[in-house]
């Protein structure tokens, strides 16, 4: 009898990075083509975030080049090869002390605050570097400098996967112009350019739409330069970090917050730890929860905390969460962005903030018509200013568009139409970790629907008005022609000369 199962004896605890690396497919690193695309996307998004954090209109330069002998580049169809990726931004730069933690460690996060960021799961960039290191065994190089500093810091480092800690291999300082700032990351990774090319190019094109204030240059391994100069100089309002909203807090988080509070009363804890909770809201809530508002929060028992959480979830007296933690593009920016498609008419709208499972969200939609657009419908999807390029068929927006009755707006399937949907949220309801498409959540679907319907109404009117002017001009000519014909036919039939002299003059 095998009384002692082997599983018991051989148990080890994996580090987060080890676990993630073993299960990297769930984050999108499942083959060389996809991994190349995901890596570029994650690093570029990080750079955009860095610039926006610095309040600087982004200027991003991305260079991807093939590494290896010329005999390799001849065998273009031969699957994975090694690439060197450099992403340069003009963001704040990273202080020397923060570099290892920010770049070299996984699962870094922020504490008890919510703010819209591009990387919902907070590990994409690190995983890209990890992926590169594992597939090529080459270290990462970071060159970064803050404004005012006379030099850039250059670090070469690698990640120890089993312990999830960074190891610095080289460090140098490079003199620079004190007014410049920004970060440049260079690393090597395995990839399949031929199979990922289409998605990567599309990614930059769509990013240029949703981030029209950025200047983006991408140099591909083929040597092609894709340039997207900025088309507008203003940036969206920066999202504010907000305390959490009381609805949707779970007990574990609640306990942790209490353990860390300096408030002496539960009422004070409520107002200081949550957003949109003032004194009277706190009082009303604590009365509903049956908790004395003067109680020391640390004295609450597990059972009381559970009760408190249940009332938190159901209490109707809270004000809706603030959308200040969100950073929608705004109609001007979105209008400028969709202008990249060179349409004839554009309609853009931003819906009022709404809430999904305690998280605020804002939906922005745009519809473009005519001009340089091809006949037929196209959909551009964005979430927290990231283009969504996969699984369009499963996305809630696709469903909404499928159910729109274009004829109600005087439009049809074959018209040159582009739809744009942008959802911002502190937690975007993705269906997969790979951030590929947005789930069919009722409240989200309704906002998208209302937004697109508004846009379609406006586009419909524009198209109709345009046609109307054209028509009036034609009318005059035609009338005269018809009467001349009538006069001619009637002359033949009646045998007398009928003229239109009295109608139109000679």
């Amino acid at each position: 009898m095998q009384q002692r199962p082997q599983t018991v004896t051989d148990i080890v605890e994996l580090s987060v990075s080890a676990w993630f690396y073993r299960n990297r497919t769930i984050a999108g690193f499942d083959n060389p083509a996809r991994s190349l695309y995901v890596s570029i996307r994650e690093i570029v998004e990080n750079s955009l975030d860095a610039c926006e954090d610095a309040g600087v209109v982004p200027a991003i330069e991305v260079t991807l080049r093939r590494v290896g002998g010329s005999e390799l580049s001849d065998r273009l169809t031969q699957g994975p090869q090694t690439f060197c990726l450099t992403v340069h931004d003009n963001g704040t730069g990273i202080p020397r002390t923060a570099i290892p933690k920010l770049i070299g460690k996984m699962l870094a996060g922020t504490k008890f605050t919510l703010r819209q960021t591009r990387g919902t799961f907070g590990l994409g960039g690190s995983l890209a570097l990890l992926y590169g290191q594992v597939t090529t065994q080459r270290p990462v190089e970071i060159v970064t400098g803050l404004k005012g500093d006379p030099f850039n810091t250059r670090l070469v480092m690698r990640l120890d996967i089993e312990t999830n800690t960074p190891i610095i291999l080289e460090e140098t300082q490079i003199p620079k112009d004190p007014s410049s700032h920004g970060t440049s990351i260079t690393f090597y990774l395995e990839g399949d350019w031929l199979r990922s090319k289409r998605k990567i190019v599309e990614y930059f094109a769509q990013t240029s739409i949703i981030v029209p204030y950025a200047s983006i240059i991408f140099t591909s391994p083929d040597g092609t330069r894709f340039e997207y100069p900025r088309v507008i100089d203003s940036m969206p309002r920066r999202p504010r970090e907000m305390k959490p909203h009381p609805r949707g807090i779970d007990v574990e988080t609640l306990k942790n917050m209490i353990a860390n509070t300096r408030s002496k009363s539960i009422a004070a804890f409520m107002t200081s730890s949550f957003q949109r909770v003032g004194k009277s809201t706190a009082t009303n809530f604590l009365r509903a929860a049956g908790i004395d508002s003067t109680r020391d929060p640390h004295s609450l028992s597990d059972k009381e905390l559970l009760k408190m959480m249940q009332v938190l979830a159901s209490f109707s007296g809270f004000i809706s969460p603030s959308s200040e933690s969100l950073s929608p593009a705004g109609v001007d920016l979105l209008g400028a962005g969709i202008g990249r498609l060179e349409p004839e008419f554009t309609a853009v709208t931003q819906r009022a903030p709404n809430v999904h499972e305690g998280h605020p969200f804002v939906v922005e939609t745009a519809v473009a018509f005519g001009g340089a657009l091809q006949p037929g419908l196209r959909l551009y999807r964005f979430a927290n200013r990231i283009p969504l390029l996969y699984d369009e068929g499963s996305d809630v927006s696709t469903r909404v568009i499928r159910e729109l009755n274009l004829r109600n707006y005087g439009l049809q399937q074959t018209d040159p139409l582009a739809f744009l949907v942008h959802i911002c949220s502190t937690r975007v309801p993705y269906k997969t970790v790979g951030k590929e498409y947005i789930g069919d959540v009722d409240v989200v679907r309704r906002e998208i629907q209302l937004g697109l319907q508004w846009c379609l109404r406006k586009i419909g009117e524009d198209v109709r008005r345009h046609h109307r002017v054209q028509r009036r001009q034609k009318r005059e000519n035609k009338l005269q022609r018809y009467y001349t014909f009538m006069a001619h036919v009637l002359s033949d039939a009646t045998g007398r000369e009928i003229t239109t002299r009295h109608l139109f003059g000679e």
Partner: protein
């Protein structure tokens, strides 16, 4: 070729009406005014079903063609051109088809101005002419200004007439199916009628069988073959017979489609409500009726097993019949339709063949069936 006196005088009336319309339009234009033409629209809402009369247009709110509007001006121009074509054809005793009329718009100088895209446009124009050329408060069937559809239907029996050929014809001596019904029954002169009733049969094969079995002679009846849904010419011919006080007996399948066929004969249709002379409210439904199969004393109860299941489209048809006033507001037809829906089965004229009788017995069965069903409807046959 020459046609009879009635025909000629009728045609002259139409010609003079067209002439008046053209003259009026000519004068209006000469006077420097934009013409305006009023007519009663073809909206289905403007039609009432009146038991005993069939579909009747209400003609309450007329529509107008306003010559100041481009589209209306185009329509009036087309109308004027069309009327001159009808005029010329009628003057020559010629007819034209809807397709002919379409091709007349391909005459170069016409095409350049009117730019007709397809036949549906010229068809609409004909429809408009029917509504604009009114006689005695009724729209004029397009046959009267010479536009005839492909004719359909035959009639066998001792009736003597003259059709557009100008020849005197006895309908029992014109071929094995009798006389091929004129394209313009309004213009046929009837000289002599020696039948006590006319039996109009949905299916050609049944009509042929009745003729082969000598039933027209034996019962002193006429036998018409509708060849399915009756054509406009056949419906006008039935109306002519009824005008001559010939009782009309209709023999169709027991099916929702056949209820429509019968109701079209009896009450005309909503679409053509404005056209006079297409309804025969006096027409009787001789058979096949649901009682034939499903009454204990039904004459076809014995071959109930020959009934076929109604298909999806049959059922849909029966359901739509509920919205057809001439069926839903007719006591007999409504009952037939509902019973079909309830039972989900339909019967066909060929069912008689399912008796499996020797042919002589079959002949007697037909005669017994026709005689006794006609009797119940108050039509006595030899």
């Amino acid at each position: 070729m020459s046609s009879g006196e009635t025909v000629r005088s009728h045609r002259d009336d139409v010609l003079s009406l067209i002439g008046t319309v053209l003259d009026t339009l000519a004068e209006t234009i000469e006077d420097g005014a934009y013409p305006e033409i009023g007519y009663y629209g073809s909206s289905k809402k403007n039609v009432n079903y009146v038991p005993g009369r069939g579909y009747v247009p209400i003609d309450e709110r007329p529509s107008f063609l306003d010559g100041r509007k481009v589209e209306s001006a185009k329509t009036i121009a087309s109308l004027i051109y069309g009327l001159t074509r009808f005029k010329e054809h009628l003057e020559q005793g010629m007819s034209m088809s809807l397709r002919d009329f379409y091709y007349m718009h391909k005459v170069k100088h016409v095409q350049e101005v009117l730019k007709i895209g397809d036949q549906s446009e010229t068809n609409r124009l004909i429809n408009l002419c029917e509504r604009i050329l009114r006689v005695g408060g009724d729209s004029m069937p397009r046959e009267e200004f010479g536009v005839v559809s492909s004719p359909k239907g035959t009639f066998y029996g001792d009736v003597t007439l003259t059709d557009l050929s100008g020849k005197r014809i006895n309908c029992s001596e014109a071929g094995e199916y009798g006389w091929f019904i004129s394209s313009r029954p309004f213009d046929v002169s009837i000289h002599d009628i020696n039948i006590d009733a006319a039996i109009l049969v949905e299916k050609e094969a049944m009509a042929r069988n009745l003729i082969e079995l000598g039933i027209p002679e034996e019962l002193r009846v006429g036998v018409g073959s509708l060849f399915g849904q009756p054509g406009r010419n056949m419906r006008a011919w039935i109306r002519r017979l009824a005008d001559e006080e010939v009782p009309i007996l209709v023999l169709v399948d027991m099916s929702p489609w056949s209820l429509r066929i019968f109701s079209t004969i009896k009450a005309n249709s909503i679409e053509l409500a404005n056209i006079r002379g297409l309804a025969t409210p006096e027409a009787h439904l001789l058979g096949l009726t649901t009682d034939d199969f499903w009454s204990s004393d039904g004459m076809l109860a014995e071959i109930k097993h020959s009934l076929e299941k109604m298909s999806k489209s049959d059922i849909k048809c029966a359901q739509q019949n509920r919205n057809i006033p001439a069926i839903s507001q007719d006591r007999i037809l409504r009952r037939e339709n509902e019973r079909l829906l309830r039972e989900g089965r339909k019967g066909e004229l060929e069912a008689f063949k399912a008796f499996g009788l020797p042919l002589d017995e079959l002949r007697k069965t037909y005669i017994r069936y026709i005689r006794s069903k006609a009797k119940r409807l108050g039509v006595k046959l030899l």
